[in-house]
C-alpha cells in the first residue's frame, strides 16, 4: 500500500513538473506558440493598446505616431488585408536573412540543402507568422520557439537585428509605416515573446 501511495504521489509530482515545464513554453511564449494564439488580429491590437494608451490619448490620432514608448491601436484587420501576402513576406524574410552578414552563416546549411528545404522552411515560417497574428490556428506544426532555439544562445543584439530585418521587409512590401508600428510591431517587440528566443 505504501509503495502504491508513494508511486501515485511521485506520478502526480512528475506530471506537475511536466506541466510546469511545458507551461513555461506557453506561458512565456506569447505569440511564439500557436496554441496561445486566439482568433484574429485583435491580439496585436490588444498588445498595442496595452502598451500605448497614454500616447493614444495624448495624440488623439492613430496616425500621428508620435509615441516614444510604443504603438497605438491597430485599426485594420491584419488577416483580411495582409493574410494572402504572408507566404511572400515570409519568403523574403528568409532570403534577406540568408544574405545578411548577421545571419548568413546560420542560414547557410539550409541554403546548402537546396531549394526544396528552403521552400519548406519558408512555408513553416509563413504558417508560424499566420498563427502568431491569429489568421490561422495550428497551421504551424514545428517546435515551440524555445525548443527551436534551444542551445543557440541568441543574444538581444541578434534578436534586435532580426526585428530590424523584418521591419525592412514589411516596408519593402508596401506596408505603411503606421500599420507596421501599430499592427505588426507589438508582438515582435514584446519582451515576453523575445524571451522565448533570446538566451535559450
Amino acid at each position: 500500500m505504501l509503495a502504491t501511495r508513494a508511486t501515485g504521489a511521485a506520478i502526480a509530482l512528475a506530471l506537475g513538473c511536466t506541466l510546469l515545464a511545458c507551461g513555461d513554453d506557453t506561458g512565456t511564449g506569447g505569440a511564439g506558440t500557436s496554441g496561445t494564439t486566439t482568433t484574429t488580429s485583435t491580439k496585436a491590437t490588444s498588445v498595442a493598446s496595452g502598451t500605448t494608451k497614454a500616447t493614444t490619448a495624448a495624440n488623439g490620432s492613430s496616425n500621428s505616431g508620435s509615441s516614444a514608448t510604443g504603438a497605438m491601436a491597430c485599426n485594420i484587420d491584419i488577416c483580411t488585408m495582409y493574410g494572402a501576402a504572408v507566404p511572400a513576406v515570409a519568403g523574403q524574410i528568409v532570403d534577406e536573412a540568408a544574405a545578411d552578414p548577421e545571419f548568413m552563416d546560420d542560414f547557410a546549411p539550409l541554403v546548402a540543402e537546396g531549394p526544396a528545404a528552403v521552400m519548406a522552411f519558408k512555408t513553416s515560417l509563413a504558417n508560424f507568422v499566420s498563427d502568431a497574428y491569429g489568421c490561422t490556428t495550428d497551421a504551424y506544426t514545428g517546435p515551440s520557439m524555445m525548443a527551436a532555439h534551444a542551445g543557440m544562445g541568441i543574444t538581444q543584439a541578434e534578436y534586435d537585428a532580426f526585428i530590424g530585418l523584418i521591419a525592412g521587409v514589411l516596408a519593402d512590401n508596401g506596408v505603411p509605416a503606421d500599420q507596421i508600428m501599430n499592427c505588426f510591431a507589438p508582438p515582435l517587440v514584446d519582451p515576453t515573446f523575445a524571451n522565448t528566443i533570446i538566451g535559450q
Binding site: 513538473c17 514608448t69 542560414f107 513553416s124 525548443a147
Partner: protein, 236 residues
C-alpha cells in the same frame, strides 16, 4: 488451491508496481526533458534537427557556395568606390590580422555558432571612418580562404537622440565614400525614430562587388538600434 491464487496476486501486484515505477521514471524524464536544461537532450534523443539546419556542418567551400547563392540577388551595378570597412580591407584583411587586432584592442571575439565568423564584444569608435558613437558588438565574416568579406556593427541600446546623431554622422560618412545611396527609406531624425516601434530609417548601397547598409530601428521601450554592414562576395 490457494497457493497459486496468492502467487498470481503477488505477480500482478509486482507487475503493477514495476509499471508504476516505469511510469514515474518516464514521466519524470519527460518533465525534465521539457525544462530549459533538458531540451538539448530531448533534441538529441529524438533526433530532432534544427529547423534551419544550424546543427549541420558545412565545409568552408560549401559554406561559401551557399553564401554566394544567398547573396546573388543583393548585388547592383558598377564597382564599389571602396572596400574599406571600418579600418579593414574586405577581401584582403585575414582572420589572423583580425585576431591580432582584437588582442591589441583588448576585445573578446568568439566564433558564434556555425560558420567562419567572429563576434566581438565591442568595436573601437576611433576605427570608424568618421564619428558615430561606440558600436557594442561587431560580427566579422570570413570566407574559405580566411579573408574578411563582411563586417556588421551594432549599436543596440541608443535612445532616439543618440541614434539620430549617430545616423547623421554615419550617413554623411557613407555619402562621402559611396555617393548617393541605391535606396533610402525613412528619416534618421529623432522625431521620426521615436514615433513608435519598428519605425525605421534605412540606406542601402548596392554595387556589383559590394553592398553597404545603414539601418536605424525603433525596438520599442525607448530603444533604437543602429546597424551598419558592408559585405563582398566570397573571394575563394
Amino acid at each position: 488451491m490457494t497457493r497459486p491464487r496468492a502467487s498470481w496476486k503477488r505477480r500482478v501486484a509486482r507487475a503493477l508496481m514495476a509499471l508504476g515505477g516505469v511510469l514515474v521514471l518516464a514521466t519524470a524524464f519527460i518533465g525534465f526533458a521539457h525544462t530549459k536544461w533538458g531540451r538539448p537532450f530531448l533534441a538529441l534523443m529524438t533526433g530532432a534537427k534544427c529547423p534551419i539546419g544550424m546543427d549541420a556542418s558545412l565545409t568552408p567551400k560549401d559554406r561559401d557556395a551557399a553564401r554566394t547563392q544567398a547573396l546573388a540577388s543583393q548585388w547592383g551595378q558598377g564597382a564599389a568606390p571602396s572596400k574599406v570597412a571600418f579600418g579593414f580591407v574586405l577581401g584582403t584583411t585575414s582572420r589572423a590580422d583580425v585576431e591580432v587586432w582584437a588582442t591589441k584592442n583588448a576585445l573578446t571575439c568568439k566564433q558564434k555558432r556555425a560558420g567562419n565568423n567572429l563576434v566581438c564584444d565591442g568595436f573601437p569608435a576611433a576605427q570608424l571612418d568618421g564619428p558615430g558613437g561606440n558600436p557594442d558588438s561587431a560580427r566579422l565574416i570570413f570566407d574559405a580562404s580566411d579573408k574578411l568579406i563582411g563586417v556588421a556593427l551594432m549599436r543596440s541600446s541608443l535612445d532616439a537622440e543618440q541614434a539620430a546623431s549617430a545616423w547623421s554622422q554615419r550617413a554623411a560618412s557613407l555619402a562621402e565614400t559611396f555617393g548617393a545611396p541605391t535606396s533610402a527609406r525613412g528619416e534618421g531624425t529623432a522625431a521620426f525614430l521615436s514615433s513608435g516601434p519598428l519605425r525605421q530609417a534605412d540606406l542601402e548601397y548596392r554595387f556589383a562587388d559590394a553592398s553597404v547598409a545603414l539601418r536605424a530601428t525603433n525596438l520599442g521601450g525607448g530603444r533604437v538600434s543602429l546597424t551598419e554592414q558592408m559585405m563582398i562576395p566570397p573571394t575563394s
